[in-house]
């Protein structure tokens, strides 16, 4: 159970998908015009994320490696359709205000990212809590951005008009989303720096891959464990063997193309 709690903490704070991993920027910037929209979008995504994580984790031994992405998409799209119909039936106002961004949850990179980097490799319960944690982290970030934008841009909180000051309208438009997101990220980075100075460990736990392999010290990243950038000495032999492999590949390609072309089979030294 400890691992499950760790996944929750990881998703909520340490690897908050919006403010730390910078994933799912499209819904983050587009739908957070009010706190209610942010909350609705976040919770919808959370439900889809949790359910798809569970199903993908259950099916992880069945799904063939080569077609895993289409398989993920089918699972995610099914849940998104279910959520879309439910929202349309029970919360039509939210359905109208979120509009196109509900079907777009299918290609939300947080969901695909968690499926790929966590659910596909881990058992069901940790995957469930990973989905919950990431989803709630997303919800909190979106609600916060929506709350700030709604307060400054419309002088209201969750739709309740306050009327304290003249609202600054630009915060309800697209530029406002960038302003608020940038400030929140800056605060997050500052908090991280202060934490690091106090000797707190701020490194990521089993990160969703940020494609930054150079600075990545994630042990759990199985795919890249072998060919991580290490101090490899390149010798003349290596170069020669690589060249031979290439020549062989070309020869094989030619062979496939036409039987008439003559080719030489070159012995390849075993790779180091």
């Amino acid at each position: 159970m400890n691992k499950c709690l760790e996944r929750l903490y990881n998703g909520l704070i340490k690897e908050n998908p919006t403010l730390v991993l910078m994933l799912g920027m499209c819904p983050t910037l587009a739908v957070t015009t009010s706190a209610m929209n942010g909350l609705g979008m976040g919770l919808t995504t959370t439900v889809v994320l949790t359910l798809s994580n569970v199903i993908i984790s259950l099916l992880r031994k069945v799904i063939p490696d080569k077609i895993r992405i289409p398989a993920f998409i089918v699972i995610i799209a099914s849940f998104v359709t279910v959520m879309q119909l439910l929202l349309q039936a029970y919360i039509p106002s939210l359905y109208t205000s979120l509009g196109i961004y509900i079907p777009l949850i299918v290609v939300n990179c947080i969901i695909l990212g968690r499926a790929e980097s966590y659910a596909y490799k881990n058992p069901v319960f940790p995957s469930l809590f990973d989905g919950l944690g990431m989803g709630l982290g997303f919800t909190i970030a979106l609600t916060l951005i929506g709350l700030i934008r709604e307060f400054i841009g419309g002088c209201s909180v969750f739709g309740y008009e306050l009327g304290w000051f003249t609202p600054i309208g630009i915060f309800k438009m697209a530029p406002g989303a960038f302003f608020v997101l940038a400030v929140l990220c800056a605060i997050q980075n500052k908090a991280k720096i202060i934490g690091a100075k106090k000797g707190k460990d701020v490194s990521k736990i089993q990160s969703g891959c940020g494609h930054d392999c150079l600075n990545c010290d994630v042990a759990g990243c199985g795919d890249r464990k072998e060919n991580k950038f290490q101090d490899i000495e390149i010798t003349q032999e290596d170069i020669e063997s690589t060249a031979k492999i290439n020549i062989q590949a070309v020869a094989e390609a030619l062979k496939d193309k036409s039987e008439d072309v003559e080719y030489e089979t070159i012995e390849v030294k075993e790779e180091k």
Binding site: T166, F171, P175
Partner: protein, 310 residues
């Protein structure tokens, strides 16, 4: 070997013009427009301009104090930004407008990107557009004690006639600093004589704009119509004082002509085909964003090199 040779790194020939002197000249050049605005719109106009200046300077000072950076308020660029922003305010602007505008201009457009020399667009115009989008009602309300009607440009747009003489003198409604063509041109001539700005950008801008209006304005090359378009709105203020901003204009000579032409075409498009009567500030901001591209295509060829590169 008694002689001591002075060894120093280049540059060995220096111009006596420094940033603060240039900025001081720009401030002096803007004074006629400021004074005319005060006479035209009353003391409250001056209060708006001064608030904007103070807001800009205080924001820059506080930012540098809090982040423990070098204090650069002495280079007077914040004063120029504040002055330009203030001159772009409507005469009866509520006092929070110049305060918020000044903070936005300095904090978001200038300091966050690294201070003077690093800003990607003109801070005063960035703030003006921010204010127009945020407070559309307050920023386009030109009703004041002296004038109650719409701006001359809005009148022209709706097909009414305007008095060209009053427009050139500046006795019309509009923002505090933009109305008087005479005052602005006086300041501009002062700057041109000192060699601080040249006519490349403003000249290309105005000529292109006049041609565009003649071709697409719907009135042909009617001198009266083109003159009212030139004298109205922020065209003169923008052409001489904002498009020529050292930081946000192209550095190459050919690029400056391209920049001026783009400004003229954009302003024409906004004024003729846009919903609003005025379009100078948006034109300058968009052209500012294009400056890196303009510089890339007008990069001068090194002497002796062939024509393989642009």
């Amino acid at each position: 070997m008694d002689e001591l040779l002075k060894v120093s790194s280049n540059p060995h020939i220096r111009s006596k013009l420094s940033t603060d002197k240039i900025m001081l000249c720009v401030i002096i050049a803007l004074l006629p427009a400021t004074i005319f605005g005060t006479i035209n719109f009353g003391l409250y106009g001056l209060v708006v301009v001064l608030t904007s200046v103070v807001s800009c300077v205080v924001t820059e000072l506080l930012f540098e104090l809090i982040l423990k950076k070098d204090i650069t308020v002495n280079d007077l660029s914040a004063v120029v930004t504040g002055l330009l922003l203030g001159l772009n305010m409507p005469p009866k602007a509520p006092i929070y407008l110049p305060i918020i505008g000044g903070i936005f201009a300095i904090l978001v457009v200038k300091m966050v990107f690294g201070g003077l020399g690093q800003n990607f667009m003109n801070p005063a115009l960035g703030a003006r557009c921010f204010l127009i989008i945020s407070f559309p009602a307050a920023m386009t309300n030109f009703v004041c004690d002296a004038y109650s009607g719409a701006t001359p440009l809005a009148l022209i747009k709706s097909g009414e006639s305007v008095d060209l003489y009053n427009m050139i003198i500046g006795r019309t409604s509009g923002t505090i600093g933009e109305t008087s063509m005479v005052a602005i041109v006086c300041g501009a001539i002062f700057l041109i004589l000192l060699g601080i700005i040249d006519l490349r950008i403003p000249g290309t801008y105005i000529v292109t704009f006049a041609l565009f209006i003649g071709l697409f304005g719907g009135h042909g090359f009617d001198t009266y119509y083109i003159s009212t378009q030139l004298a109205g709105g922020g065209l003169m203020l923008g052409a001489f004082f904002m498009a020529t901003d050292y930081v946000t204009r192209p550095v190459t000579r050919a690029g400056q002509y391209v920049f001026g032409a783009i400004l003229g075409i954009l302003t024409g498009i906004f004024r003729v085909f846009g919903a609003s009567a005025e379009g100078v500030s948006y034109a300058i901001i968009i052209a500012n964003l294009l400056v890196p591209l303009i510089e890339k295509i007008t990069y001068p060829r090194a002497f002796g090199r062939g024509g393989e590169h642009l």
